[in-house]
Amino acid sequence: MPAETTQKFADLEAQAQVLMSVFTKAGHEAVAPAVIQPAGVFLDVIGEDLRARTYVFTDPDGTELCLRPDLTVPACRLHIARNAQAPQTAAKYCYNGPAFRIQPHSDDAMHPREFRQAGIERFGDSVREAAEAETIGLIVKALEAAGLKTWSLHLGDLGLFRSVLAAAGIPPRWQKRLAEAFWRRDAFRSELKRLTSAPGASARALPVELTAALGRGDNFAKENAVNAYLDAHGIAVIGTRTVAEMTEHLLEILADAEAPPLNAAAARLIESYVAVSGPARTAGTRIAELLKGTRGGSGLALDAYDRRLALIANAGIDLDRVTFSAEFGRNLEYYTGLVFEVTAPGLGPGSPVAGGGRYDGLVRAAGAGVDVPAVGAAIHTERLLSVVSEARL
């Protein structure tokens, strides 16, 4: 809830100073990105779910703008603006300021429309796990400096998930599809079921004369076959999608029909991995067991998991407070690797006091044109203040 009393406003300001001073001492430059942002970059990156929760408006010349729903994308844009020629330049930023989200159910104290985020972002780090562990360590340090005593840290790892898919020995196009579907639990389950039982179902709906023609010749001939089919049926090609794109997709559908269904062992491995949840150290052991005997490729990701955990411990974090869940990170679309959340008793699992992770694709999507390693996290300052104030009472 926005500060409605001068006392609460003063408390939030004082707390923000504590947080920002921890960040700047660790070498993060304080920045203040614009509150009003172009809507397009957010909408393309964050998906329609968060769009439905973003205040979007049009200014008189027709430009679509929004009130920023978080500060991560604005920080990316700021970094790109400063380093247009070399977006991979290493940089560390921190910020404190308001973000805005439509709350579909109600505007309650833990889910306000307007809230203030204090956070850090770092770009261009080549040593990935070290940057991640430092980010987590710094967030925890800031939370503790603000007075938070009891907390737990939850980790997820989308990179590890992709490695498990590779280790399961399934065709790359199915790996890609499962990884993309991972964001939505139901879509993921139905895709896994489809690949395990009837990968050819979509192909059966296609016209037989076309599927026959697509079986012959090179890609050029196949694309011509699609054009010939459309001409013969008097169907005009309109819009931005191209016949080449659709031909490629039709061939994927037909390849699925040819392929044997996903074998039971691979499906079991994927399902067992997705079910892994518990203390971070034992979760690592459990994943190693699952992957034993599978093809290589997963070793690197698992090494990274162990290395990161060791670095987190080195950053002064008690690993007994750290849990891992393979499913965690599912509704946070732009993350690509590590994801984490800090929760505090009394706030409930749906209201973390801080959260963040790795988002290597976001800087490109925000206009850099290249992938830039990026990791960051933000503190929900009103929640932090409420937990800390309760504890003081």
Partner: protein, 231 residues
Amino acid sequence: MNKLTLAVPSKGRLMEQTTEMFARAGLAVRKTGHARGYRGEIEGFPEIEIAYVSSSEIAAALKSGSVHLGITGEDLIRESMPDADTRVSFLKTLGFGFADVVVAVPAWWIDVATVADLEEAALPFRRAHGRWPRVATKYMAITRGFFASKGFGDYRIVESLGATEGTPAAGTAELIVDITTSGETLRANGLKILDDGVILKSQANLIAANAALWTPALVSVRDTLVRRLSA
């Protein structure tokens, strides 16, 4: 006593059909004051005052309860209030103003016949174009609710206030959610309706505002009116 306010469409085909419907029920509706006024009455129903309001504003008036009853399309109600079933009561379908709210994609997309196919095609589309397919519509809330119910989230809405069916050919959207009666306009624009893409079969309804002040006397006027229209 307080009068019951009934909001009816102030212009166009819906207004004509509303007047015809009252006439069929033997109820003469006439404007009060000068001919271009926005108030009216039903002969023999002195307890009812008619307010001529544009169709889109009828939904807002019903939502706030500033009128007791209104005649408008279900599509406009559903679009302007996601919680329509708690805010208004659909008293009676009226048998005109038919319009289906549908999802339509280019007819040449032979790999897409259902929402599930659309979801599958959205991934390679994003790889090729760097963004999710755009859905042009003026029904933003209905579209979001429908796709969410199908578990489909890989799209971006582009608000369209007119000529929505032309947006795919114009290249400003990949697909649309719009109303259709016969499907003819969609076909003429090179589009087809998805097999599971009929979101809502809408028609004009007599609708009561739950938030309006309903005295026992007004409830009985309402019931009499519904009986006369149903006869």
